[in-house]
């Protein structure tokens, strides 16, 4: 699969502090890629580096197979980076027209692009109002419109739902789904975990400038899976725990429940464990695979930061 984004050995210091510390990242074309990390973990710095806004100390970045310093390459990329950046004395439409002109669009082509972008973010009704009078949420929508203006193949969105009301959040998530459906690559940086869980097929987790996880969202969630086993009596539960530990399987009491066990799923699967228990005449009242939330996986990966 072609790479929409390819980062190798990316390093950037601010003074002695490494903001980005040797990141390698491969974002396949057509994927919706979640870029997770707590505040200050280096997400926005990484995005600025991959867009050529910051110069790396070391490492290389390829965007759509080209350099981020190449205009032709950047014309295939739309980006919303952190806070909105628009001309307050121009209307929403004029702001888009300005950047459309700057990007080489003109006349009917520019108008069609502007109408499409404004329509995508639901700002047609206020298109002639000055951006300086917009609310934070409206500015955020306009910035997303700007990112979509040139119908990019790769859309980089840094905290796109910041400042949006609940309806706006739903709209933006629907927009991202629509972008993915149309075959575009979406690189979504966020700390809203439900957003990633709902939208992203792949995810990378950044912590203190380093990648601590990278892969399919499904696989990341599977890492946090465990087996919940409940018995009728505490005595059965204790015997089961001993039997499992003897077989080299991690098992511990599940919370406050004296009859419940929490079994790690990094070895034998649920059916093998059930068979092992049955051989020792232990018959669970309930046996179920529990899936961890992305939140718990994230907190686990980032040491709860």
């Amino acid at each position: 699969m072609d790479a929409a984004i390819e980062i190798r050995g990316l390093v950037r210091h601010f003074g002695p502090i490494p903001a980005v510390d040797g990141i390698n990242l491969y974002v396949p074309a057509g994927s919706v890629y979640g870029f997770l990390g707590p505040n200050g973990s280096g997400k926005t710095t990484t995005i600025r580096l991959l867009l050529g806004l910051l110069r790396p100390d070391r490492g290389t970045v390829r965007l759509m197979g080209g350099s981020p310093h190449d205009a032709a390459c950047l014309s295939r990329v739309g980006a919303l980076v952190e806070r909105p950046a628009l001309y307050p004395y121009l209307s929403a439409r004029e702001n888009l027209l300005l950047f459309a002109t700057l990007g080489g669009l003109s006349g009917g082509e520019a108008n069609r692009a502007i109408d499409g972008a404004l329509g995508a973010v639901g700002l047609q009704a206020v298109a002639r109002r000055k951006a300086g009078g917009f609310s934070t949420g409206m500015l955020q929508r306009l910035s997303i419109a700007l990112a979509l203006l040139r119908e990019p193949e790769l859309v980089i969105l840094d905290e796109p739902t910041n400042g949006l009301d609940p309806a706006g959040v739903v709209d933006v998530r629907a927009l991202i789904t629509e972008l993915a459906r149309s075959g575009r690559t979406v690189f979504l940086s966020t700390h809203v975990l439900t957003e990633v869980e709902q939208l992203c097929d792949r995810v990378a987790v950044l912590q203190r400038g380093r990648l601590v996880a990278d892969g399919l969202t499904r696989e990341l969630l599977e890492r946090g899976q465990w087996l919940a086993i409940d018995f009728d009596t505490e005595e059965e539960s204790v015997r089961a725990a001993v039997a499992l530990r003897e077989a080299g399987i991690g098992a511990e009491r599940a919370g406050d429940r004296e009859t419940g066990l929490r079994v790690t799923l990094d070895g034998p699967g649920p059916s093998a464990i059930n068979k092992l228990l049955a051989e020792r005449d232990l018959h669970p009242a309930e046996l179920a695979v529990r899936r961890a939330s992305l939140e718990s996986v994230f907190l686990d990966l980032t040491d709860g930061v």
Binding site: R48, G52, L53, P68, V81, A85, L86, L98, T101, L102
Partner: protein
């Protein structure tokens, strides 16, 4: 490049600060001109008591000379210089503000990021912005020159007998020392050219500070502080250093600009004094050498614009 030029003009022409400067400077120049012209037209030598008959002829000659002298700045082509003199300060400040604002606000609004994302060749953006700033300053200057040419026809100040100027005696304290007389059209345009150079220096300094410090206000402040600081250092050096070191203050931007303007005024016939003051540490440089030093300064400052922006990390 055409799309870059069109887009840049689109955002520049919509800004109120740009409109105020472009229209405000000529408006101030008109007001200054009118104020001077109306005062000049009312001139007469004040006398106390009756003038004895034997001095009537001398008084009439003095009246005619002073009337011609005070009306002189409002006769074409000298009127062009008069308008420029009335607007020089505002032109320099306005040019500096234009550069600082048009560059600094791109950082304040964060729009430099969107520009760079569409046009990663930052030099192209800066070159076009420089072209527009230069165009606006030249446009204002052309308007001032046109006003200087047109205003004498609108506000006529009667010079009386121009030959009476021959009776002027600077030694008598009637007129400022060094004043000689009328200027030619070429002389007026030479003075206008020095206004361009002064404005260019203001643009270069303020623009560089705005780019470096990413703010319009800091750009203005930085340029202002540099000019004042350089003046103080130059004055200290002129009073302290000797030998070949005396040439060092002569290399400063403000010294060279002041000298360039004064030399141009002398060449235009506005004054006999020129750009060489009589301070003990002063060393005169030939005007072409002085002009070359200014050219090096401007080229260096504008080159730094490009270096600063190309190397800048865009955090906005």
């Amino acid at each position: 490049m055409r799309s870059l030029i069109r887009a840049d003009w689109y955002r520049i022409r919509r800004r109120w600060d740009v409109r105020i400067i472009v229209l405000g400077i000529p408006a101030l120049a008109i007001l200054a001109y009118l104020e001077g012209a109306l005062s000049a037209g009312n001139f007469s030598v004040q006398t106390f008591g009756d003038v004895p008959p034997e001095f009537h002829a001398q008084q009439a000659a003095q009246d005619a000379a002073m009337r011609a002298f005070y009306a002189m700045p409002y006769q074409f082509p000298r009127s062009i210089v008069t308008v420029l003199e009335g607007a020089t300060f505002w032109l320099a400040i306005g040019s500096a503000f234009l550069a600082a604002s048009l560059l600094g606000h791109e950082f304040a609004w964060g729009t430099i990021r969107n520009v760079v994302l569409i046009r990663p060749d930052r030099s192209g953006f800066l070159a076009v912005r420089l072209i527009w700033i230069g165009g606006l300053v030249l446009g204002v200057l052309a308007a001032l020159v046109a006003l200087g040419a047109l205003l004498p026809a609108v506000v006529h100040v009667d010079p009386g007998d121009p030959n009476a100027l021959a009776n002027l005696d600077p030694n008598a304290g009637w007129v400022p020392w060094g004043t000689v007389g009328q200027v030619s059209l070429g002389g007026a345009l030479l003075v206008a050219a020095t206004s361009v150079v002064t404005a260019a220096a203001a643009v270069a300094l303020a623009g560089l500070c705005a780019l470096k410090f990413r703010s319009a206000m800091t750009g203005m402040l930085g340029a202002g502080i540099y000019v004042v600081a350089e003046g103080i250092v130059v004055a200290m050096m002129m009073s302290r250093v000797g030998g070949d070191l005396r040439y060092i203050p002569q290399l400063s931007l403000t010294t060279r600009l002041t000298t360039l303007v004064a030399d141009a005024q002398q060449a235009a016939g506005l004054t006999s004094i020129g750009g060489a003051p009589t301070s003990p540490g002063w060393v005169s440089l030939p005007p072409p050498v002085g002009a070359a030093i200014v050219a090096v300064w401007l080229a260096g400052l504008f080159a730094l614009w490009f270096v600063v922006l190309r190397r800048a990390d865009i955090y906005e």
